[in-house]
C-alpha cells in the first residue's frame, strides 16, 4: 500500500487523469472507465486494505444497479437520493452477508463470497417479475437534474461518473490513512496478532466488507443511471471476476490502481474485441505476466521505474 497519507501525489495524478480522460476517449467510454474504476475500488479496499479476497463484489454492484433501477423507475426517486439509498442499502446487505462470511477465513471465506454471488444471480432470474430476468430492467429515466444541472448528454454523465469516482477515491484514501486503515493493515499482515492485541477482527472485517459493498453498490447505481437500463450481466459472476482482474492489473497496493486497471481493461477490450473473439486470452496473459513479474500491478510500475532511476543516479 502507498504510505497512508491523504491527499497525496496519487490524488493529484488521479485527478489529472480524470480531467484528461474525456479528451482522449469518447465520453461514453470515459464514463465506463470511471464507473468500473469505482467498482474496482471496492476490491482494492478489501484485498489491498484488509487482505480479503472476494469473487463476489459483482453481487453488490448488481444489487446497487437493480435497487437504483427500481427506485428511479417505480418509486420516482430523484438521482441523488437514488445514489445514496442504493449505496447505503447495498452496504447494509454486505454487512449482513459479511457477518456470515467472516466466520471463516482463507479459502472458505473466498468460497462463501463465490456462493453468495451465485445465489444473487439466480435470485435475479427467479424474481424476473421484479428484475426483468434475462431481459434486464428497462424503462429507466434518461434525464436527471442534480444541483440545478441537467444530466442527459454523454459528457454530463461522464462528469457525474468522474465526480462520484473522485469522491469514492478520496473516501478510500481517507479510510486507509485513518486509524481504521491501520488496523486493517494489521489484520492483513497478521490476523492472529491483531486479535491478540485486542482488536475485534471480525467487526473490522464486517465494517470493511460493508464499506466495500457500498462502493460496489454505488458503481452499480451509476451504471444503471448511465445506461438507462440494468443489464442482467451486472449481477453475473463474471462482473465480480472482471472487477477483481481490473484491480489486480491496476494494482491493489494503491487506490490509483483501480483507475489504471479499469482504464487498461476497458480500452484493451474495446480495441481487441473486434479483432479477435478470444481477446480475453490476452487479458489472461497480461494477468499472468503481472502476477509473476509485477505483483504490485501497473500502478507500481511507475514506482519501480523511479526507484531504478534513483539507484542509477546514485551509482552514477
Amino acid at each position: 500500500m502507498d504510505t497512508p497519507r491523504f491527499p497525496n501525489v496519487t490524488t493529484l495524478i488521479v485527478a489529472a487523469a480524470m480531467i484528461v480522460l474525456p479528451f482522449v476517449v469518447p465520453a461514453t467510454l470515459a464514463s465506463q472507465i470511471a464507473i468500473f474504476a469505482t467498482a474496482a475500488l471496492s476490491v482494492t479496499l478489501l484485498l489491498g486494505g484488509a487482505g480479503l479476497l472476494s469473487f463476489g463484489q459483482g453481487l453488490y454492484l448488481g444489487i446497487g444497479a437493480y435497487a437504483s433501477g427500481l427506485l428511479l423507475r417505480d418509486a420516482g426517486f430523484a438521482l441523488l437520493p437514488t445514489l445514496l439509498v442504493a449505496t447505503a442499502g447495498t452496504a447494509a446487505v454486505a454487512a449482513v452477508l459479511g457477518a456470515v462470511m467472516v466466520r471463516r477465513q482463507g479459502i472458505y471465506f473466498v468460497m462463501l463470497t463465490l456462493a453468495f454471488a451465485q445465489m444473487g444471480y439466480f435470485a435475479m432470474l427467479a424474481a424476473k417479475d421484479v428484475t426483468g430476468g434475462e431481459n434486464g430492467l428497462s424503462g429507466l429515466p434518461r434525464r436527471f437534474d442534480l444541483f440545478g444541472a441537467t444530466i442527459a448528454s454523454p459528457l454530463s454523465f461522464y462528469v457525474l461518473s468522474a465526480g462520484v469516482f473522485g469522491l469514492a477515491f478520496l473516501a478510500v484514501q481517507r479510510l486507509l490513512a485513518s486509524p481504521f486503515g491501520s488496523v486493517l493493515t494489521a489484520i492483513r499482515e497478521n490476523e492472529g496478532r491483531s486479535e491478540a492485541m485486542g482488536y475485534n477482527v471480525r467487526l473490522y472485517k464486517i465494517a470493511v466488507i460493508a464499506v466495500a459493498g457500498g462502493i460496489a453498490g454505488l458503481a452499480g447505481s451509476l451504471h444503471a443511471v448511465f445506461l438507462g437500463f440494468v443489464p442482467p450481466t451486472d449481477v453475473d459472476l463474471e462482473v465480480g471476476q472482471r472487477m477483481l482482474v481490473m484491480s489486480i492489473i491496476g494494482g491493489v497496493g494503491s487506490p490509483g490502481g483501480a483507475l489504471v486497471g479499469s482504464a487498461f481493461y476497458t480500452l484493451v477490450s474495446e480495441a481487441l474485441s473486434e479483432l479477435w473473439a478470444r481477446w480475453m486470452a490476452l487479458i489472461a496473459l497480461v494477468l499472468i505476466a503481472l502476477v509473476l513479474f509485477l505483483p504490485g500491478g501497473l500502478w507500481s510500475a511507475g514506482r519501480h521505474l523511479t526507484g531504478l532511476l534513483r539507484r542509477r543516479d546514485a551509482d552514477g
Partner: protein
C-alpha cells in the same frame, strides 16, 4: 495597440471551434455522400459464434446493395461482446457522438430489448432479430422492427400441422430451458394443447448451463409421451435431441424441436440424428423464392455454399432497412418509419410484409422433417418442408401499444 482582456478571452473561447471547423465541415460533407449504418453484434464473448454469422449476413447484404438513394452505405460494426449493457453503451456512443440513426442487428433478445428502447429514445430506427415476444409485444415502439417470428408463431406454426398429421398423438411431454424464451415457448405449447384437448403429461426444466439431460429424458420416457416437444434454443436443443435419440426415444415418440436454426444445426447433428425428427425453422435455403435466390447468390459468392439461417437472418434485417429507405425515398427517420409500416418486399422466405400495428415482419415459419441419409439429394439436403405457416397473434392480442 493593447489587446483588452475581454477580447483575448473571447478569442481563446472561439479558438477550439475554429480549429474544429474544417473536420466538422468535412464530416458534414461526408455524411451527405455516405449513409452510416451501425450493426450491433457479439463478435466475442459467449455468443460469438452466433454473432459472427449474423454479422456476415448483414455485412454481405450491405455490400450487395452498395448504396441507397445515391449514398454509399458505410457499415459500422459495434461489438457488444454478448453484454446488453455494452450494447447500449456502444449504441449511445454511435448515436450521440457519431450521429448514426440507422441501427440493425442483435445477438440475443436481452440485447435487442435494451437497444430498441435506446434507439427509440434517441430518435433512430432499429431492425433486429430477437426471439422474445415482448420485442413486438408489450415493449414495442415506433423505432423497432423485427424480422423473425416470435415464440407464439414458432409454436403454432409447428404444433398445429403436427397435430393434424398425427391426430392420435395425444400425450405431449416438454423439456424447457428455464429462461424467458424457453418459458415463452412452453406457455404457448400449453395453450395449444389446451385448445386441442391434448394431454400435457409433464415438463422438465433445465438451466442455461445444463449439458446433461439424461435425467430429464428418463422422466419423459416414464410418462410414455407420443410427442417430445423441445422448448429451448442453440446447442442445448442439439444436446437434448442427441440424448433423447440415444435413449431410443425416436422409436415410439415424435421429437419436435420447436425453435431450430436449421442448416447449421442439421450439420452438427448429422443425418443419422436428423432423420425422423421434426424441426421448426425461420429460414430454409431449399425454399425457392426470388428473395431466397438473392440471398443464396450473395452467400454463395462469399462462402461457395448455401446460406444458413443466421446468415439469412443477418441479411434480412439489412434488407428490411434498405428496402424501407428505397420506398421512403429518404433516410429521415419519421418518413422512413411511416414508409416501412405495411411495406411488402421479396424477402428470404418469399413475399414478406411489415405489420404496421407492431412492426413485426409477417413471414413463413417452417415445420421440417429430417431426411434419411439415403434420401438426401446433396450434402445440405437434410430435411424437407412439411408446412409453411404464417401464424401470428392478432395485433390486439400482442400487448403492443405503439406510442
Amino acid at each position: 495597440m493593447p489587446i483588452e482582456r475581454r477580447t483575448l478571452l473571447k478569442g481563446l473561447a472561439a479558438a477550439p471551434a475554429a480549429l474544429a471547423a474544417p473536420p466538422l465541415l468535412r464530416h458534414a460533407m461526408a455524411q451527405s455522400e455516405t449513409l452510416d449504418v451501425a450493426a450491433v453484434y457479439s463478435l466475442s464473448g459467449t455468443f460469438a459464434n452466433v454473432g459472427t454469422l449474423l454479422n456476415n449476413g448483414s455485412q454481405w447484404a450491405m455490400e450487395h446493395y452498395g448504396s441507397v438513394l445515391g449514398r454509399k452505405i458505410n457499415y459500422i460494426l459495434l461489438d457488444d461482446r454478448g453484454d446488453a449493457g455494452e450494447a447500449v453503451r456502444k449504441v449511445q456512443e454511435a448515436m450521440s457522438q457519431r450521429g448514426i440513426k440507422h441501427i440493425i442487428g442483435c445477438t440475443n433478445s436481452a440485447i435487442a430489448l435494451a437497444v430498441q428502447k435506446e434507439v427509440n429514445a434517441r430518435g433512430g430506427i432499429y431492425v433486429q432479430m430477437a426471439g422474445a415476444d415482448e420485442s413486438t409485444g408489450k415493449d414495442c415502439n415506433k423505432a423497432n422492427f423485427r424480422w423473425p417470428v416470435a415464440s407464439y408463431s414458432a409454436v403454432n406454426a409447428t404444433m398445429r400441422p403436427l397435430i393434424e398429421k398425427f391426430p392420435n398423438a395425444k400425450k405431449w411431454y416438454t423439456i424447457t430451458g428455464q429462461y424467458v424464451f424457453g418459458d415463452s415457448l412452453l406457455t404457448n405449447v400449453k395453450d395449444v394443447l389446451k385448445e386441442k384437448g391434448l394431454q400435457h403429461v409433464g415438463n422438465s426444466y433445465h438451466s442455461l448451463s445444463d449439458r446433461e439431460y439424461s435425467g430429464y429424458i428418463a422422466t419423459a420416457l416414464a410418462s410414455s409421451p407420443d410427442v417430445l416437444a423441445i422448448c429451448n434454443f442453440g446447442n442445448q436443443t442439439l444436446d437434448v435431441i442427441r440424448q433423447a435419440i440415444s435413449y431410443g426415444m425416436k422409436r415410439n415418440t415424435k421429437i419436435l424441436a420447436i425453435w431450430s436454426t436449421g442448416l447449421d444445426q442439421f450439420q452438427a447433428l448429422g443425418p443419422e440424428n436428423c432423420e425422423g425428427v421434426y424441426f421448426g425453422c425461420n429460414f430454409w435455403h431449399g425454399v425457392d423464392t426470388p428473395g431466397g435466390r438473392e440471398v443464396a447468390a450473395v452467400v454463395k459468392a462469399k462462402t461457395g455454399d448455401v446460406p444458413n439461417y443466421l446468415q439469412a437472418c443477418g441479411y434480412a434485417v439489412a434488407q428490411v432497412l434498405v428496402e424501407g429507405i428505397k420506398k421512403a425515398g429518404t433516410t429521415e427517420i419519421a418518413p422512413l418509419i411511416k414508409a416501412m409500416e405495411g411495406m411488402t418486399y421479396e424477402g428470404p422466405t418469399g413475399l414478406e410484409k411489415i405489420r404496421p400495428e407492431d412492426h413485426q415482419v409477417i413471414k413463413d415459419y417452417y415445420l421440417m422433417l429430417g431426411k434419411a441419409k439415403s434420401a438426401m439429394k446433396d450434402k445440405n439436403d437434410f430435411a424437407e418442408v412439411i408446412a409453411a405457416t404464417k401464424a401470428f397473434l392478432p395485433p390486439d392480442k400482442t400487448g403492443c401499444k405503439m406510442a
